[in-house]
């Protein structure tokens, strides 16, 4: 399970520590915690602690490696000269430069006394038993949280199934609001129509006359802004497009809102339309937008040249009712400045 590349395993020397961890780390990170979990998470803690302790026992082996390390320190960059570490020895320090220990002023070249840290300077094996128990407990907690989180995310993105039907509430509680995600990118089928959102307005001109404007194709304006643009803005690419999707998703075919979100989506779409109309100076200078009407026009993307499929090229129009524009929608002031 090589998520990463790594140097040959016979070179644990100078470029070992930074490079090597990335190596089969992916495998080990996965295997380690799971092994503990499968044995019964928390209750297993002392057992795994003991396993590591046993490995750390032979002080001579550790000291042997410490000597090897001083050799490493002598010639950094020529790790090839160092014998490969006994893979069974867990307690040996892996990083030569890590052997200095601020909490332990005398690095103790000989055998460390009882109660002191034995040889190793990192990892669970470097700890006395009581701390090993604490570390094992931490390992169990981290492993369980990781496992549960990945399971929840998996169930969240998976199709509706036995587990999501039974535990949908628990999954949603875990995922929402911060871990929500949707990766059905152009799937199961890509969108096959160009949906164009258009708006017209009833405006009152400064001399008190009310009149109706023509249709403004807001999506076409977005398209113009996107064309030839290496860095399209979210305001051009997502704002109106997603607002329309939101509206369509929260209204039935007779444009009746479904729940609170239906109301929110209506107000959102209206505010976008009013802002864009102001940018286009709809109705001329000084005119006030009193009412607006939004419609969508969906045109199928024509079938490819090489295909024998026939699709209608007639746009399907969906007209929404006229909406009264409240004053609060006109006060945005996001007209010229942010229109760039």
């Amino acid at each position: 399970m090589d998520a990463y590349d790594e140097g040959p395993k016979t070179r644990p020397g100078a470029d070992g520590p930074p490079g090597e961890p990335a190596g089969d780390g992916a495998a080990d990170v996965g295997a380690g915690p799971e092994g503990v979990v499968s044995d019964g998470a928390v209750s297993d803690a002392p057992a795994s602690g003991r396993a590591v302790d046993d490995d750390a026992e032979p002080d001579t082996a550790v000291r042997g490696d410490a000597e090897a390390d001083s050799a490493v320190r002598g010639d950094l960059g020529t790790g090839d000269l160092i014998d490969p570490r006994d893979p069974g020895d867990l307690s040996a320090p892996r990083d030569p430069s890590a052997s200095y220990d601020p909490g332990d002023p005398v690095p103790a070249p000989g055998g460390p006394g009882p109660g002191q840290i034995r040889g190793a300077t990192a990892g669970i094996a470097a700890l006395p038993l009581r701390s090993q128990v604490a570390a094992a407990f931490a390992l169990a907690v981290v492993a369980v949280v990781t496992f549960v989180h990945l399971g929840m995310v998996f169930l969240h993105v998976a199709p509706s199934n036995t587990m999501t039907k039974q535990h949908g509430r628990a999954i949603d509680d875990w995922i929402y609001p911060e871990f929500e995600q949707n990766w059905k990118l152009f799937a199961p089928n890509p969108l096959q129509q160009n949906v164009s959102v258009q708006v017209r307005a009833l405006v009152r001109t400064p001399d008190g006359i009310s009149r109706e404007t023509g249709w403004y194709d807001l999506s076409a304006l977005d398209g113009e802004a996107i064309e030839g643009n290496l860095l399209p803005s979210h305001t051009q690419q997502n704002e109106l497009r997603r607002a329309w999707d939101y509206y369509a998703g929260t209204h039935d075919s007779k444009n009746r809102p479904v729940g609170l979100r239906g109301d929110l989506s209506e107000r959102y779409l209206r505010r976008i339309a009013v802002m864009r109309l102001a940018r286009e100076h709809a109705g001329g200078a000084g005119a006030v937008v009193e009412r607006i009407q939004v419609r969508s026009s969906s045109t199928n993307v024509p079938a490819p040249d090489w295909s024998e499929e026939k699709v209608s090229d007639k746009p399907v129009v969906r007209e929404l009712p006229w909406w009264i524009v409240p004053d609060s929608d006109r006060e945005g002031g996001l007209t010229e400045v942010s229109a760039r």
Binding site: A22, P33, G103, A138, L139, F179, P190, H234, T235, N238
Partner: protein
């Protein structure tokens, strides 16, 4: 059991003694912070429309929407214009600082706050790229992402070089000041009742852990408590890295497996359609050219599905994984231009980068260091380049950093 015991204890030893994948975690730190920073700078002229109090998705609308799901957004603490500008500036600043790896423990949390505040404020402005950044910003908090290619690493190296053996590390005044400022800010947010209980626990917990880390590093008489903290930090880092990798796999698996069920992906025409959508064709002539050859469209359509479905399984084989990784990064680079989705593509490439081989990343770092040395005369090449093989020791000496821990 006897056969597995050595493997299990070896695994436990590895995940406790070091924070694995230092170069990969640096890559995702740099990748996501750069993507978000570039996005914020590009949208600076549009910031009011996207996230400002007078956005079409107005402050009131956002408030009502968020009150239903409890998402975190500092922007909803006040509808003032000044507050908005301050949060936007903080988001820009935290991305830049995380990019260069300054106090990554603190800046990664600030980065997450910036990302969540803006994105949760205006959920309907984002796309898949924002979604990736949102998730990864949270996961980054738990990684030790400043082990290499960062100012943190450089500072740790300098501290190590100038310190006599056996001396305790010098007092980290900047770190303590930063920690104090964070405490004050969090206290203000807590006292005014802006934060939910969950976030209070998380933020105060992070500050407390950092304080503990610092106290243990400078006061403890034996190495034991410090090593224990180091073990826990390594565990959390390694778990977060697994989550990042699994998340990337889930993205591809979801995208791929759902595509298999679509008739257009089956009949080999799917790629033709996005190329003909007005919202995703900034270069119509190029799009039409690419969409005009039936066989090519089919090969790309099938190739996309195969690569996406296969990718998670190729992690078992290094070479095949690298080939697919190169293919996916190339496809995202093409998508950036052809479909006009630069920030989405950049975010996906950043996510892919967590799977890049260490040998390649080290070479990349070498090139970067040499490039900088050529551009900036007087710089010693390779410093603080990635050739210094001491990420872990760098991290070890970081325990005086005050801020947030991971």
């Amino acid at each position: 059991m006897n056969r597995f015991a050595p493997a299990v204890s070896r695994g436990i030893s590895r995940v406790t003694e070091s924070a694995l994948g230092p170069y990969q975690s640096a890559m995702i730190r740099i990748g996501f912070s750069a993507t978000w920073l570039l996005f914020l700078l590009r949208e600076y002229p549009h910031r009011q429309e996207l996230y400002g109090p007078e956005s079409p998705w107005s402050w009131d609308l956002a408030q009502q929407s968020v009150s239903g799901n409890g998402a975190f957004s500092a922007l909803l603490w006040s509808d003032g214009q000044g507050w908005f500008e301050a949060v936007y500036a903080l988001a820009v600043l935290s991305s830049a600082l995380l990019l260069v790896g300054w106090r990554t423990r603190t800046t990664s949390v600030l980065f997450m706050i910036g990302v969540l505040s803006l994105q949760n404020r205006s959920v309907f402005m984002g796309d898949g790229g924002d979604n990736v950044i949102h998730l990864m910003a949270i996961y980054l908090v738990f990684t030790r992402c400043g082990q290499v290619w960062s100012l943190d690493a450089r500072q740790a190296r300098r501290a190590r070089e100038t310190r006599a053996p056996g001396q305790p590390p010098a007092l980290d005044r900047v770190g303590i000041a930063l920690w104090g400022v964070m405490c004050l800010a969090l206290a203000a947010a807590s006292l005014t009742g802006r934060l939910s209980t969950g976030w209070l626990v998380i933020f105060w917990g992070l500050l407390a852990v950092q304080a503990l880390w610092w106290v243990v590093g400078s006061r403890a008489r034996t190495a034991e408590p410090r090593i224990l903290l180091d073990v826990v930090a390594n565990l959390v880092h390694n778990a977060a890295l697994v989550v990042v990798m699994a998340e990337a796999c889930l993205i591809y698996a979801t995208a791929g497996w759902y595509k298999i069920q679509g008739s257009r992906w089956q009949d080999g025409t799917a790629v033709y359609y996005p190329l003909n959508l007005d919202y995703f064709s900034p270069w119509p002539a190029l799009s039409h050219l690419m969409a005009s050859h039936g066989t090519m469209v089919m090969l790309v359509t099938y190739g996309t599905v195969i690569v996406q479905v296969a990718f998670p399984f190729t992690l078992f084989n290094r070479r095949v994984k690298n080939v697919l990784l190169a293919a996916m990064m190339t496809e995202h680079a093409v998508i950036a231009v052809v479909l006009g989705l630069p920030f989405f593509s950049l975010a996906m490439i950043a996510a892919d980068a967590v799977f890049l081989p260490t040998s390649f990343l080290r070479r990349l770092g070498g090139w970067a260091a040499r490039g900088r040395a050529a551009l900036v005369p007087g710089h010693r090449p390779g410093l603080p380049g990635p050739r210094q093989p001491e990420p872990r020791s760098g991290e070890r000496n970081e325990h005086t950093h005050v801020g947030f821990t991971a």
